[in-house]
Amino acid sequence: MREIKTDTITDAVRQIVMDAATDLGDDVVAALKAAKKVEKSPVGLDILNQIIDNAKIARDEKAPMCQDTGYAVLFVELGQDVHITGGDFEEAINEGVRRGYKDGYLRKSVLGDPIERKNTGDNTPAIIHTQIVPGDKMKITIAPKGGGSENMSEVKMMKPSDGIEGVKSFVLDRVLRSGGNPCPPVIIGVGIGGTFEKCAMLAKKSLLRGVGDRHPNKFYADLELELLEKINKLGVGPQGLGGTTTALDVHVEVHPCHIASLPVAVNTQCHAARHKEVVL
């Protein structure tokens, strides 16, 4: 049994909250630079340049790359041999989120009630997904999620007869209908299988993979590349203003499912594909 204090959790969360907002991953920046070499639209190219310049300014000046610093979504892999001491685990995370959004001068975008719509003022509560795993470590990943791209996400309970072609059509249609709304170039997370909520989680978690990381199963790795090519042929382009760079990558995750079902989820991620992790 290893002890981890709640204060340690709070401090770690505060730091990754701030780092995620300002420091775009090298994989995303490299993908944006690679896109510049193939983008056919002059407007699209100008937009890609602005996005790359923006990422550099954000990193150099520790400024949020986007004013939508997101809903704080955290994934925790909690070792079963860890004993958390000093207080409430989820409150420790929320306190880290609270401090990170305050000290990092990040925007508070969370409303206490979806209908009343009054801002909680500190960007809490966070969304916390905890998984118990073997070991005595705790891995915390933050993936702050902007509203614009999250709004262009969808779950569809397809028929088994729709098959793989139906899945592809749904993904492509979702991207086309999203147009410029989710800030393309996007990264598309696709969850196939499981249940209604499971496929949404698969799609969301797939977005934690690095740009260019392929599914270990060749069939799904090929599907990712096929969808990426087809998405980039839609013509949506950077910011939806036309072009050949609509997505930087597609990630697919799958799960066993019921004989009656073919659940599919598309979680759309903007180019500000932020995530940071810490292991305690």
Binding site: L45, I47, E61, Q67, D68, Y105, G235, G242
Partner: protein, 185 residues
């Protein structure tokens, strides 16, 4: 890149008519931020025939909610938010004299009709480039709805604010044109 058109606010019919989709513009002058919650309140005032907290005639509304400024900054990161959420409100504001919108993503046919009728223009700024865009904002002041926090109405002074004409006053639509031009079967 094509030459950039320099435009100043408030906008006139002539300025709006001169703009066509795909034009790169640099906006200088005063613009006002408003998002969903502020738009709702503005349109409620219009519906009641009450006075708005600022005169929208000839003005540009920027769909944006910035991050808080760090000490010494006039504003934090301040990129555009998605525009379609304002579809329900913008025609009424155009009816009250608004001449321009800055946002990201497409707006509805109803907005385009109002734009054609009243001569207004819609600019796309680069979503997710909030740190870069904030460099063109030289002053910011909350002028209404402070209780809304990031969603309050801010009067911004901008210099060479970069944007692209995405919908023009003749019904030109860069989103549709872009897909037609670059989409491959």
């Amino acid at each position: 890149m094509s030459e950039k058109k320099i435009i100043t606010t408030p906008l006139t019919d002539e300025t709006v008519e001169d703009l066509k989709i795909g034009d790169n513009v640099l906006i200088t002058g005063t613009i006002y931020t408003a998002r969903d919650a502020a738009h709702k309140r503005l349109v409620e005032l219009i519906d009641k025939g009450a006075e708005l907290p600022f005169d929208v005639k000839g003005q540009i509304i920027y769909f944006a909610g910035p991050t808080p400024p760090k000490p010494g900054q006039v504003i934090g990161s301040a990129g555009p938010t998605t525009s379609y959420r304002m579809n329900a409100y913008t025609p009424k504001l155009i009816g009250a004299g608004q001449k321009g919108m800055i946002g990201k993503g497409e707006m509805s046919a109803e907005v385009v009709e109002a734009m054609k009728k009243q001569k207004a223009v819609y600019f796309a700024a680069v979503g997710g480039a909030g740190a870069l865009i904030s460099k063109s904002i030289t002053a910011a002041e909350v002028i209404a709805y402070d209780d809304l926090g990031a969603e309050a109405i801010r009067k911004l002074t901008v210099k060479d604010f970069p944007a692209i004409v995405a919908l023009d006053c003749r019904g030109g639509n860069l989103f549709k044109e872009g897909i037609a031009k670059y989409g491959q079967k």
